[in-house]
């Protein structure tokens, strides 16, 4: 029988991964937005995600709310430690979120909201990457509270992970648009996806090489059993996903590049999980340390077990309703 806290660590990890891949592609579309050449292409890009972005971003709220619910101590430590990147991410998400509606409500200020859409998307992605890097580097905890300063998150490593996430999200966005569009825009995105895939693979390589040196514990986890087996298997899996991505692009497949890019993200996420486990906030807090009492975990679990499958079902339905290529002439604006 698993501990409740470990079940919950799995659920939170699932929520975060779901957020990363779902909002990842729609943030990526925002990052690529200025590269659209005509108003019609811009409309196509935005309309490809307009009906679903809000649902995608709800997973971010679940990540935050879920952490507050089941690992309140982790929530109470991570948020002040990452104060600046999180506030900047929230502000960036405001700009890009409102742009979905605002840009259709004005002709004169349309360029302003188009820039807000791009700027908000890229800053949000960059800050998420910085937050990840800072978390990997570790957070000082003393007496159930964050014990560091308000610039501790800033380092070369966290800037590197920030750039990695921007490029990775742009790859997801390009692959999504390959799937959802046709004609010149699709060709253009295939070209971008190729370059972005190379960039993403490069960043995965550098970050993977540097991570074991951020904390000796990571080194041990990767180079001892059972981590060692994965250390050997992981590069192979990444290469397989990369091959699927490039060959899909070459053969002009619609869905294959996107699915391959998602797989890449999933593999990276597993990698981070191996580095962290059993910690939730490296280097000091374990999953068990940070967990709320069993009574809280149990109560929240009941609803989660019932509601998350329903959420997945109607979310899948919403995607199904808006399946296929985007018709830029469709919309309600």
């Amino acid at each position: 029988m698993f501990e409740l806290s470990f079940i919950w660590a799995g659920i939170i990890a699932f929520a975060v991964l779901t957020y990363v891949i779902l909002d990842g592609f729609d943030l990526g579309v925002g990052i690529l937005f200025p590269l659209a050449e005509t108003e019609r292409e811009k409309a196509t890009m935005m309309n490809s995600i307009a009906p679903i972005w809000d649902g995608n971003e709800t997973w971010l709220v679940l990540g935050g709310g879920g952490l507050f619910a089941v690992f309140p101590l982790a929530y109470a430590v991570i948020m002040p430690a990452l104060y600046m990147p999180i506030i900047l991410m929230l502000l960036a998400l405001i700009f890009r979120g409102v742009a979905f509606e605002y840009r259709w409500r004005t002709e004169r200020w349309k360029p302003v909201w188009d820039r807000a859409f791009f700027g908000g998307s890229i800053v949000a992605a960059f800050m998420q990457g910085i937050a990840l890097g800072a978390l990997v580097q570790g957070i000082d905890v003393a007496d159930r509270a964050y014990a560091g300063g308000w610039w501790d998150w800033l380092s070369l490593f966290s800037i590197l992970t920030g750039c990695a996430v921007v490029v990775g999200y742009a790859l997801l966005g390009a692959a999504w648009l390959v799937m959802k569009t046709e004609g010149p825009l699709q060709r253009q995105m295939e070209g971008y996806a190729r370059w972005l895939a190379m960039g993403t693979l490069g960043f995965i390589g550098i970050v993977s090489l540097l991570t074991p040196f951020q904390d000796p514990v990571y080194f041990e986890r990767w180079f001892n059993m059972p981590g060692l087996a994965l250390s050997v298997a992981m590069p192979g899996a990444v290469l397989a996903a990369a091959w699927a991505l490039f060959s899909g692009l070459k053969a002009h497949k619609d869905a294959q590049p996107f699915l391959a890019a998602l797989t890449l993200f999933g593999l990276c996420f597993i990698g981070i999980g191996i580095s962290f486990y059993p910690h939730i906030v490296p280097p000091g807090l374990t999953i068990a340390d940070a967990a709320a009492p069993d009574e809280s975990l149990r109560f929240a679990l009941v609803g989660t077990v019932v509601l998350v499958p329903m959420i997945l079902a109607y979310t899948a339905y919403a995607y199904w309703v808006f399946r296929g290529k985007v018709d830029p002439d469709e919309g309600y604006h």
Partner: protein
């Protein structure tokens, strides 16, 4: 700019600022989601295209307001941790699961079905589209339910224990969720959201009636709004009174501040209608009082004794002047809403509802007043809870995150600039959309590429409708 302030004051101002901005949007979208569901149901049932016109009109306004609510809401879900981390650590085991339920049972529902409601009618057909519209409305109400349970627990904590780490831990979920002030607060807030929306709809209807009193959609929405006001305003006053009595039972100090009772009244307390609370001298200057009325309202007995703030240590008192004023603003607007509703009812029975230009003007003036009342009400209850975050148990000063003051000052400044810019622009677009009559194209768009209108047969018939020659059965 904020050099002289402590991190605590800055964090409090930041929370107050961001939550005040945020509450405006849900207060509107809760009511508007329900209104849209009603409009869509009426359209499907009666096939009267006026309802469809109104649905499409308010749908676009809803989309903008809802978007602003979502993005300002995400900020809230992280700000507990960024600025109030000790509060988060202590209350997480109790409040966290309630918030998780809000996300799971409300936010996903709204977000999942919103796309179908806004964009999907032609794709899924009328029935599923109606279901999606109803689900969005249901989601907004579920969200209100959970978050008001959380807030109410902070006001009237119940069903908890305290563990060795100092955390509040759950002992009885039923008592936690249905804590003593929750049913009152939920009723009061949902009714407030409905009134707020009705006032906006009534104001927009009044505006278009002033321009063209034959405007059929304007007549319909004005009539619906006036019905809503006269039905809900009396209920709201009753619910507010019950909520006040509940507060007297569980948070008497808050009521003392609301009433401006610096002193105890052993022989029956007066109701202070107006006055200027003087914190230094601990009295209300220039008070206009009605003798014994406060005792009569609060205790239902004219000479019942009422304690004042002299029975409470200074360190446990909320700031009296803010609570005193915000309470009066809320109550004053509440009675003004009742007055508007009664006026509308009277003109309706005289058959002059669409001809009384003064009534239409009054409706426009009252259009934004629901927001003012909602904010004033929240200021009353939240400032009245001070100096605690969890009433009587956890002080605000002990809830703070260990973030340096300059960091909080920087983020506060950023929030102020960004919110005024972004939500100022959004409010401008909302007002411009409301300023356009329900049939005209949205101003500012000359070549927008997105037009379902030309593709959907439903919308086409809608476009053929002429408002002037079909106006027999309004009301």
């Amino acid at each position: 700019m904020f050099d002289s302030f402590t991190a605590e004051i800055l964090a409090r101002v930041q929370f107050a600022f961001t939550v005040s901005f945020h509450i405006i949007f849900p207060a509107f979208s809760i009511g508007l989601a329900s209104y849209l569901a009603v409009l869509n149901a009426l359209w499907l049932r009666t096939k009267d295209e006026t309802y469809l016109t109104l649905f499409n009109y308010w749908k676009k306004i809803f989309a903008v307001a809802f978007g602003m609510g979502v993005v300002s809401g995400i900020v809230m879900s992280y700000q507990f941790g960024t600025n109030w981390s000790v509060f988060s650590d202590r209350t997480g085991p109790v409040l966290g699961p309630l918030m998780a339920y809000e996300v799971l049972s409300a936010f996903f529902l709204e977000a999942g079905f919103l796309g179908i409601m806004l964009f999907g009618r032609a794709r899924v057909g009328d029935r599923l589209h109606m279901l999606a519209t109803a689900m969005v409305a249901f989601g907004t109400l579920m969200s209100a339910t959970w978050i008001l349970s959380v807030n109410s627990w902070m006001q009237t904590p119940a069903g908890y224990g305290i563990n060795e780490a100092g955390q509040f831990v759950p002992e009885d979920w039923w008592q936690i969720v249905f804590n003593p002030s929750f049913p009152y607060r939920l009723t009061h807030m949902v009714l407030a959201a409905y009134l707020t929306t009705a006032l906006v709809v009534g104001g927009v209807g009044g505006l278009h009636l002033l321009r063209n009193r034959q405007d059929r959609p304007a007549r319909r929405m004005f009539s619906m709004a006036m019905w809503m006001l006269i039905c809900v305003a009396p209920l709201q006053i009753f619910a507010g009174d019950a909520h006040g009595l509940n507060t007297l039972e569980h948070q008497p100090v808050k009521v003392m501040a609301m009433e401006g009772h610096y002193h105890s009244y052993p022989d029956g307390a007066p109701l202070i209608l107006f006055g200027i609370p003087n914190a230094k001298e601990k009295r209300v200057d220039y008070a206009i009082e009605v003798p014994y009325l406060s005792s009569l309202i609060l205790k239902h007995k004219w000479d019942a004794p009422l304690d004042g703030l002299d029975t409470v240590p200074d360190a446990d008192e909320p700031p009296v002047a803010i609570v005193f004023w915000s309470f009066r603003i809320m109550v004053g607007i509440g009675f003004a809403i009742l007055g508007l509703g009664a006026w509308g009812l009277w003109r309706r029975f005289r058959g002059r509802l669409f001809d009384d230009r003064l009534l239409h003007r009054a409706a426009i003036v009252m259009g934004p007043m629901g927001f003012v009342a909602v904010l004033a009400g929240w200021i009353t209850t939240e400032v009245g809870r001070q100096p605690y975050t969890v009433y009587g148990l956890l002080r605000t000063s002990d809830s703070l995150a260990p973030v340096a003051a300059p960091a909080v000052a920087a983020s506060l400044l950023a929030f102020i600039v960004v919110y005024f810019f972004v939500f100022g622009a959004g409010t401008f677009y909302l007002l411009r959309m409301m300023n356009a009559p329900p049939k005209a194209p949205i101003p500012g768009i000359k070549e927008g590429p997105l037009r379902t209108v030309s593709m959907s047969p439903v919308a086409q018939t809608n476009a053929d409708e002429t408002p002037v020659n079909r106006e027999t059965r309004d009301v």
